[in-house]
Structure formats: C-alpha cells, structure tokens
C-alpha cells in the first residue's frame, strides 16, 4: 500500500459515516474505485463499498465516435429555443371584473352563433372572416375550422380524439400592447376559455 492508502485507511471510518468534507470524501471515493486492497477493507465494514468502481465509469468506446455528431444533428439552430411547443394554455392571471364580464358575454355570443344557425341551414357558405360571422350557416365542424384559419389569433379548434360530435374550442384573450412607432401588437394570451360543444345537441 502506498501513502495514499495509509491516508485513506485513516479516513475510512469518517468516510463511511459521511463525516468528511466534500474534497476529502471525493478523494477517498476515487481511491476506493481504483484500489482493490482499500476497497476490500472498506467493504468489510460496509458491503456497498464493493460498488466503488462505478464512480469512474465512462461512456463506452463504441458510443464515443458518433456521440457528438448525433447530438449536433438534432440541435435547434440557436440555443434557448425550446424543442416542441410549450403548453398552449395561457397563464391565468387576475382579471379585472370588466374583462371577466366581457369574456362571459363573448362566450355566450359564440355559443349562440355556433349552435343556432345549425338548426336552420347546414349549407356551406363563405368562410367567416371573424368569429362574429360564425352564424352564416356553414356546417358546424367546417365552420369552426374555417373560422380558426381565418382568425387564428382568437379561436383555435381542438378536435377531441374519437369524439366526432364533440368540438372543443379554445378562445384566448389578448390585450393589445402599445408599441412605440408601430402598430399595437397583442400581448401573450392573458386568459383562456375552453368551450366544449356537443355537435349532436338537439335544441
């Protein structure tokens, strides 16, 4: 045994009871990973010390050559751009009472606009440019889809899988934010209203 082993032997009791400072503990751990004799002595006191060599495992040789290339091929062009789309749910914030009232009114209007025309006219018509035109008589599902295409900032249609006759609409409200020297731009969505509409509803 070398000088390192003598030192490790002195520290072994404190090491096994987790009383060493980080630097010394790290040094003992690495020594036990490499030194069979010291490891044997440590394992006699604590059988888990036979696992010490796991501390120095490295990426196997067979994986090393392509490791970076495979990562690089999948990196977005610039860092800081999250992969995939973050949750589409807007952050719920406290809403002034006036805004909440307007939301409720808008939701009721949308429901009426979507449901009432269906009772009378299912023919296809010019796709609505805005949600206000949703009552033009377009078939229920197509109408909503067209509406979302034409007004992507206000309504999104989320089709419920396996439930053809149930439509889920997500309506997001934005506050216009002043932009110096340019047109007002919408803020990120400040709230979201989800409407679940039964297409088969017989009024």
């Amino acid at each position: 045994m070398g000088a390192g082993c003598d030192r490790v032997r002195d520290l072994l009791a404190d090491y096994l009871e987790d009383r060493l400072q980080a630097a010394e503990r790290g040094a003992v751990r690495l020594h036990l990973a490499a030194c069979r004799a010291c490891r044997r002595e440590a394992a006699a006191r604590d059988p888990l010390q036979i696992l010490a060599p796991l501390s120095v495992d490295e990426l196997p040789e067979r994986y090393r050559e392509g490791f970076w290339a495979e990562i690089q091929a999948k990196l977005p062009e610039r860092p800081g751009h999250a992969i995939g789309v973050a949750s589409r749910r807007a952050q719920w914030t406290r809403q002034p009472a006036r805004t909440a009232l307007l939301m409720g009114a808008a939701a009721a209007a949308l429901l009426a606009a979507l449901l009432v025309p269906r009772l009378f006219d299912r023919r296809a018509a010019e796709p609505p440019a805005t949600i206000a035109q949703a009552g033009a008589g377009i078939p229920f599902g197509q109408m909503a889809m067209e509406a979302s295409r034409r007004a992507p900032q206000t309504v999104e249609q989320v089709r419920t899988p396996g439930a053809r006759q149930v439509q889920v609409y997500s309506m997001k409200y934005y506050l216009a934010s002043a932009s110096s020297g340019g047109p007002a731009r919408p803020s990120p969505p400040v709230t979201e209203l989800v409407l679940i509409v039964d297409e088969g509803l017989d009024l």
Binding site: L51, S55, K74, P79
Partner: protein, 193 residues
C-alpha cells in the same frame, strides 16, 4: 477553456464551445443515466437527449449557481422517464444483460480486459440489486454514493428537502445491503475486485 467560458459561449450559439462542454460532461451524464435506467443503450440515448435539452434551456441557467447540480436535474428527469417507460413495457433494468460489456462480451478483447470484465460484472450486479429500489431511492443513491454529490445538492436536483434525501439514502442503503447479502454472498465473503 474553463466551464464558465464554455457555458457563456454556448449560450451565444457557439457550437464548438458546446461540443467541448459536452465532452467534459459526457461521462458523468452517461454514468448517472446508466445507474438509474440500468441499460447502456438507453443510458446513451438519455445522455444525448440531456445535452440536446441543455442547448435549448442553457439561456435559463443562472451563473450564480453551480452548473453540475442544475444539469444533473435534466439528466435525472430524463433518466427517470426512461426508467418508467421500461417498467411499463416490462423491461427489467437488470435483465437482458449487457451484450457488449458483459463478462463474455467485447470487453474481453480490450486492453486491461480484466479490469473491464470486473467493471462489467459489477455493473451487472448493481443493475440486479438496484432493481429492488424505488426510482427516488435509485436517484438518491446514484447521486450520493456514485457521483459523490452533497445531500443539499441532491435535494435541489430532486426538488425535495434534504431530510427526504437522507431518508431515501437510508432506505436505499438498507435495501442494497440486504440484496447484496441475499443474492451475492460470495462477493461479500472475499472481495476479489
């Protein structure tokens, strides 16, 4: 170039710097993933995914905090997901062996073959006994006993209190000791490696 400089350059989009950061952290990321997931191929995939994820979120890293615990959290979360997927499909973490690293695998042809054989056998033993641990216990044990992290750092990685980490460690050690004594008594009688 030091770690801090590599991180700053990576944030600005320097892929060469990011590659060097990957090389610096590669073995540790792989090791953490391996000891949680229990499969070498899966661990390699997890490590790569962690670096891809790192590139996407590195702008959020607070330089006032140590990097390793912050990055370890990414690795651990991905490894836990992989471990649970394997549980759902019935893949036993310790089952199937390690084709390239097992005692009869390619390891025998490499230099220091006896050392590599020993390590491969040890990995197999750990996979086997660690299969008795809950995921949180595996994580705590891996980060403390194999990676040498401080309990408070582990608590940050796991998003729990330090007392919870200590509890996980106590349970993990007890279970692993029992499993070693029960399944591998010959290894404990005479530590030949």
């Amino acid at each position: 170039m030091d770690e801090r400089s590599l991180i700053r350059l990576s944030r600005s989009g320097d892929r060469s710097a990011f590659e060097r950061l990957v090389l610096q952290k590669r073995d540790r990321a792989y090791r953490i993933a391996l000891n949680i997931v229990g499969d070498e191929d899966e661990a390699k995939d997890v490590a790569q995914s962690a670096f891809i994820r790192l590139w996407s979120v590195i702008a959020r890293y607070d330089e006032a905090l140590p990097f390793d615990p912050w990055f370890s959290r990414i690795v651990v979360n991905l490894a836990i997901d992989a471990y649970r997927r394997r549980q759902r499909i019935g893949a036993v973490p310790g089952g199937g062996g390690d084709p390239a690293g097992g005692p009869t695998g390619r390891a025998a042809a490499q230099p220091d073959a006896d050392v590599e054989l020993m390590r491969a056998e040890l990995r197999s033993v750990f996979r086997d006994v660690a299969s008795a641990l809950a995921p949180a216990q595996r994580v705590a044990f891996t980060l403390k006993e194999i990676e040498g992290m401080e309990t408070e750092e582990i608590a940050q990685v796991m998003g729990v209190k330090a007392s919870t980490v200590r509890n996980h460690l106590m349970q993990a050690r007890r279970i692993l000791r029992d499993e070693l004594r029960r399944r591998y008594p010959e290894y404990l009688k005479d530590v030949t490696w």
